[in-house]
Symmetry: C2
Subunit: 336 residues, 2 copies
DNA sequence: GTGCGACATGTAACCGTTTACAATTTTAAC
DNA sequence: GTTAAAATTGTAAACGGTTACATGTCGCAC
């Protein structure tokens, strides 16, 4: 079989099979609409010509693109890969292509929003971690294309997220139950794009503390750091305080910083939870090794749910904004 | 401005501007081919109608799709994100869409190869980490679509890779220079998909050892483990041996396992490099914190190069297979 | 004033599908 | 054997662009 210079088209098939292109198309798309014998014959010809329908032409004709745009700042969360796996698995099962965009700068963010509506390129969009401004949200909501937010939310848009406030509560309850009374909080800034989730976790945390008659006493009991390295350097000032003023437990909004903390403690010869109890967030792989107590988010599942929600909206189902909250889970290990 | 039920087309623009569609198209694609005054007028109309050319139609007409398929087993290497960032940055700069596929099973791998040639969906392909079989490679090489392999290679195909053999040599030289004479090797299986790079690193490592009159004595001096956890459990058998038979340095083909090793040593109260020197591979973030000596791969750059090579082949330049080797770098820290 | 090339624009075919509608054939009830 | 309904197939018009080619216009040298 000589290599064809140009792949065969539906017309080639039609001619070779002695039928019209409409019939070939039906064999492909509505097989039961064509007589059994014809169908078999056409299928044989398709096979022998190694014919594959041109997706672009098909898309133009049907008005859909079978592709979904996913925007996320790759590094913003360590949990990135797991979410992406959920997204990818679900879209590939549903025969959708996944087009990735990495949004790591304001410039890129703007150009993304700019191009998103270009030329009907996507059937739907998932925006992960990047909380849209009110204007952006309005723009997205008014667009013709369904949008689902993941790991963030906005009143105008559908979203799949975890209840960060509840996560803060879980952490607080657990620490209080363990007998801790002087607590501290360590947030991460998520690279400046999105400050919301750390703040929400803090608010849930504080809420429970207040209900228990406790408090984050002063500005000294919470910090926001940008990196694991920064988390380490915090350790000495904390531990240098007199025992009576020293927090006995710390809630870190990311396993990364929590692990850095543990690591720093190890170097100083200190042990969790006796010298300082630590609870993290996410349940990354490292958390298990280091026996870090943490709040687990259903990362993979969140990707799955985001795509499922998107597909349902694309299918024209309930098209009004729908906020999904996924449950968190407290994983108790040795660090508390 | 009322929301249009249906977006405007090139015909709407042509009519509104009182010109033909050809002229509008030229304004978009070959601006210098149209009179200055016309161009300005048409551009004004385009803007006022908020017209965006339909990409699908454009693609059908021009025969390209402006999208690139990237296949990789997401988790296979910890370096995944960095490579992907390089890939994404370069393709987005060149206005190509990046379509991700996560190949984590043989089933998925087969369906990927099956669908890759469907319907001319992509202008080019990058396959990362997954070494194709000879059949697969032949199939890819015969296809109409340019292919670049990343982090692996095959004689029939273009590739961007690091010289794993050289990486093994670098590690060996360094350890020997540091005075070590009894060495050990710790490979990772990369989840069973690809066993090649660990083996190549081993061969470079052994080569230098042999040249120096040394050897990996027996099967006892090298292991292949599947996980960081497994790496830890190796530690005791190694260290339990009599001092004269105990390796004084170990080369791990992944920073992940190297870090696990360091971690296990810490727990046992041992210190690198005195009790056991450790050298890793990749230079992940964790390597810096833990002061792990390692062989750094240019991860981001490898993604960039892969796309650049792909684009050049897509551009019809040199279309014969071209193997690129990127340089490695020995990063010396405290663990050796 | 004529002729000719350069430039600007329009006409219409084409890219490869899907699908509404029309035309034809089959089926089955009488 | 009729006949109406159902099933099958074909015709041709979309889908929304690009572009080869034809046509028309203009400037300028003669």
């Amino acid at each position: 079989m000589p290599k064809r210079a140009t792949p065969s088209t539906i017309h080639d098939v039609a001619k070779a099979a002695g039928v019209s292109v409409a019939t070939v198309s039906r064999v492909l798309n509505r097989p039961h609409r064509v007589r059994e014998s014809t169908r078999r014959h056409v299928q044989a010809v398709i096979h022998s010509l190694n014919y594959r329908p041109n997706e672009t032409a098909r898309n133009l004709s049907t008005g859909r693109t079978l592709s979904i745009s996913v925007a996320m700042p790759f590094m913003a969360r360590d949990s990135f890969v797991e979410r992406l796996r959920g997204i990818e698995a679900t879209s590939s099962v549903n025969a959708y292509d996944l087009v990735m965009s990495n949004i790591e700068s304001v410039v890129r963010r703007n150009s993304y929003y700019e191009s998103l509506f270009d030329g009907r390129r996507f059937d739907g969009v998932v925006i992960a971690t990047l909380r849209p401004s009110d204007e952006e949200a309005a723009q997205l909501a008014n667009g013709a294309m369904p949008v689902v937010l993941l790991d963030t939310s906005h009143p105008l848009l559908s979203s799949v997220d975890c209840d960060d406030v509840e996560g803060g509560r879980l952490a607080a309850h657990h620490l209080i139950e363990r007998g801790h009374r002087r607590l501290a909080f360590l947030g991460d800034t998520e690279f400046g794009f999105n400050f919301v989730s750390a703040r929400e976790r803090l608010s849930g945390f504080v809420e429970v503390l207040n209900d228990a008659g406790l408090a984050l006493g002063s500005r000294d009991e919470w910090w926001i750091v940008h990196s694991s390295h920064a988390a380490r350097t915090l350790l000495s000032p904390i531990l240098d305080r007199p025992a009576a003023e020293r927090p006995t437990a710390i809630f870190a909004t990311s396993d990364l910083t929590a692990l850095a903390l543990l690591d720093g403690m190890e170097r100083l010869g200190l042990k969790a939870p006796d010298d300082l109890a630590v609870i993290g967030y996410d349940d990354l792989h490292g958390a298990r090794w280091k026996a870090l107590t943490t709040i687990r988010q259903p990362l993979f599942q969140s990707g799955v749910s985001a795509i499922e929600l998107l597909l349902s909206q694309m299918g024209g189902g309930n098209t009004s904004p729908q906020q999904t909250l996924l449950p968190l889970e407290l994983i108790i290990r040795e660090s508390t």
